[in-house]
């Protein structure tokens, strides 16, 4: 025993084999690949451009942040996009959440069919959804504009909410609800006090997905927008003339908003665990 105590020097880290570094290098490379376009977007929001093209970096400035709402058409487009995204999120959470609850909790006739429709909707190319919606609106002689965009966005958001909520509900111990009923809670109270808080992570995930899908949707929107312009449509339209740096700034702000939400949900999840 004494010898082993004596012969224990301050441990020097042994030299690592080169294979030890494969995984870290690979990981950082993938992360960089994922983040590079975002970095470029943020960087060019600070670009002191002289001409109308924002493609070479010409010096640092904060003026685009000051003149964020200087372009009237762009501001209106962003407003449309934001209000549509918020409304689409709220409505698709309500409809898709109920759908997910039904699929996750109950066994009913036609359940397989409903599941199929939900997945088919996710799997169908947007181009198909967009064009077929356009034919539908044309056939029914519905004027295209803000409300048809909203209708289309709600439609493609519902399945994503349904799937995330369904996964959460299916993993729920059914006796939790029974325990609430057993302790004197009416079905409504049991839902509010027990089921809803338990499936909240699924609902939040579905809501985040919906918002993200709606705010940058281009394909479906372009078919059903009529004269209404959303943020992605405006950006696409201006790309031939040169995209103003305000677009980068708006993109950066939307990105930051998403980062904050994601960070919050991760932190909240961590706090709950400890």
């Amino acid at each position: 025993m004494t010898t082993s105590v004596k012969s224990a020097p301050v441990a020097r880290r042994p030299k690592r084999k080169w294979t030890y570094y494969i995984l870290p290098v690979y990981t950082w490379a993938v992360l960089l690949y994922l983040c590079l376009p975002i970095f470029v977007m943020i960087l060019f929001g600070f670009n002191n451009t002289k001409g109308r093209y924002n493609i070479t970096f010409q010096g640092f400035t904060l003026k685009w942040y000051k003149e964020l709402f200087a372009i009237g058409g762009l501001t209106d487009a962003l407003k449309n996009s934001l209000t549509i995204a918020v409304l689409a999120t709220i409505i698709s959470v309500a409809i898709g959440g109920a759908l997910g609850m039904a699929l996750g909790r109950y066994r009913f006739r036609g359940k397989g069919g409903v599941s199929l429709v939900v997945f088919a909707q996710i799997a169908t190319p947007e181009l198909v959804l967009g064009t077929s919606l356009l034919s539908l609106f044309l056939t029914l002689n519905i004027p295209r504009g803000y409300w048809t965009i909203l209708l289309a966005h709600i439609m493609f958001c519902i399945p994503f909410v349904a799937v995330t909520v369904q996964a959460r509900v299916a993993g729920l111990d059914g006796s939790l609800r029974e325990a609430a009923l057993d302790l004197g809670a009416t079905p409504m109270v049991a839902f509010r006090k027990v089921t809803l808080p338990m499936i909240m992570p699924g609902i939040l995930a579905g809501a985040l997905l919906s918002f993200a899908l709606s705010i940058d949707d281009f394909v479906t929107t372009s078919f059903n927008a009529g004269q209404t312009v959303t943020f992605p449509l405006w950006v696409y339209g201006s790309s031939r003339l040169g995209i103003p740096a305000q677009v980068n700034v708006m993109g950066t702000l939307i990105f930051l908003f998403g980062v904050i939400l994601a960070a919050y949900s991760i932190l909240a999840g961590r706090r709950k665990k400890n």
Binding site: S175, E178, A179, D182, L183, M198
Partner: protein, 394 residues
């Protein structure tokens, strides 16, 4: 029954007011697309005030379905369920004055322990101060007074179990329903909780209906046990009655180890039937009604049998059979022997480790097995399937 250890807080005698719980002709059939399954075929049962009653049986015997019908999670297909004389059929679970301890505990993970326990009281519009003091008092009772602010998942399995118990008991229900609440605990903890549960039940004096498939658990805790099989009651009685006087092969096999012998009655007189067991052996069994030539099934508990060498034993152990030791297992406090009878059946014998550590017999030795006639049990019905306890003599 004379040596009942626990204080008898009740007498389930009918006639002195309505029972805490009464089941009358209760049936439950589940219908699905492809089949119908009769989980409970017919159940008549009275549960006394303050009684600790166990529903015991193998999985699929209908015990949990029965409990869920009392709680209100399932409605019976036929029959009535009365709580203190009032029919509960059609009454939703949140309006029934019973509470359940679930097998999975079903604690609300997004609430603290104290919030879990307070959940039922808060539904009753009781003042905040009273809710608080009752929650404290209940956490004290289950020994978790300092854990109120924790989350359930931060507690050990045994502690979670106590929270589930506290959450139900704090409402002072007229009966507490427990669905295999100890099944998820390890052996040591389970045994400790058995004692604990019994103590709490005596303290609060509430009727407990306890569902279990563990015969040891049922024997340890219950005032009365209802043995169920295939949706029917096999036998109802105190632990002693069921162990000492099982009426059916199923009960004999499910509670403890039983030796089952089959034979033909060779003589019947004064309420005692005799069956021939070959080689001078004979088995006497008390029987109310029998006749020469009847095929009967007899059981005897392994610890009632005495094992001897040499001559056929005399004295009051009038039942005796001869056989060969085929297996001997040392269990510390006791030895078990497997004895192969000359007729081909195998009997298990349990011998306490007494003054000498030496085993009485070795493998391959010829021995006599003998016991008193009153320990011979006449059984009816089919054997317990799947328990492996009954040595089917074929």
């Amino acid at each position: 029954m004379t040596s009942q250890m626990h204080a008898q807080p009740h007498d389930a005698a009918p006639g002195e007011g309505p029972a805490a719980i009464e089941l009358r002709g209760v049936e439950k059939t589940f219908f699905s697309k492809s089949e119908t399954f009769q989980a409970v075929k017919r159940l008549d049962l009275e549960i006394g005030e303050g009684e600790f009653l166990s529903l015991l049986g193998p999985s699929g015997c209908g015990k949990t379905t029965t409990l869920r019908m009392i709680a209100g999670f399932e409605e019976p297909t036929a029959g009535e369920i009365l709580l203190h004389g009032r029919n509960q059929v059609g009454v939703p679970p949140y309006k029934r004055d019973v509470n359940t301890v679930f097998q999975s505990y079903a604690l609300f993970p997004h609430m603290t322990v104290a919030q879990n326990v307070a959940f039922g009281l808060e539904r009753k519009r009781i003042g905040k101060a009273e809710v608080h003091s009752r929650v404290e008092e209940m956490l004290q009772l289950v020994g978790l007074a300092d854990r109120g602010e924790r989350r359930p998942q931060q507690l050990s399995g045994g502690q979670q179990q106590r929270v589930a118990l506290a959450r139900a008991l704090v409402n002072r229900p007229s009966a507490l329903l427990l669905d295999e609440p100890l099944a998820a605990l390890d052996l040591k903890l389970r045994q400790a909780m058995q004692v604990e549960l019994k103590r709490i039940q005596r303290d609060v004096g509430i009727t407990f209906v306890f569902v279990t498939h563990d015969q040891g658990e049922a024997l340890t805790m219950s005032d009365r046990i209802v043995v169920m099989n295939n949706g029917l009651i096999e036998q109802v009685g105190s632990p002693q009655e069921l162990y000492e006087r099982p009426k059916t092969r199923f009960v004999a096999g499910f509670l403890g180890t039983s030796n089952i012998m089959e034979g033909t009655v060779t003589s019947y007189a004064d309420g005692v039937a005799v069956i021939d067991a070959g080689d001078d052996g004979r088995v006497l069994v008390p029987a109310d009604d029998s006749a020469v030539g009847d095929q009967i099934t007899v059981s005897v508990r392994p610890e009632k049998i005495v094992l001897t060498h040499g001559e056929r034993p005399s004295g009051d152990r009038e039942c005796s059979v001869q056989g060969t030791v085929s297996e001997m297992v040392y269990l510390g406090t006791s030895n078990t022997y497997e004895i192969r009878l000359n007729g081909g059946e195998t009997l298990t014998v349990l011998e306490q480790n007494g003054s000498t550590a030496e085993a009485t017999a070795r493998r391959g030795e010829k021995v006599w097995l003998s016991w008193r006639p009153q320990h011979s049990l006449l059984l009816t019905g089919a054997p317990a399937d799947g328990t492996g306890a009954a040595d089917d003599a074929g």
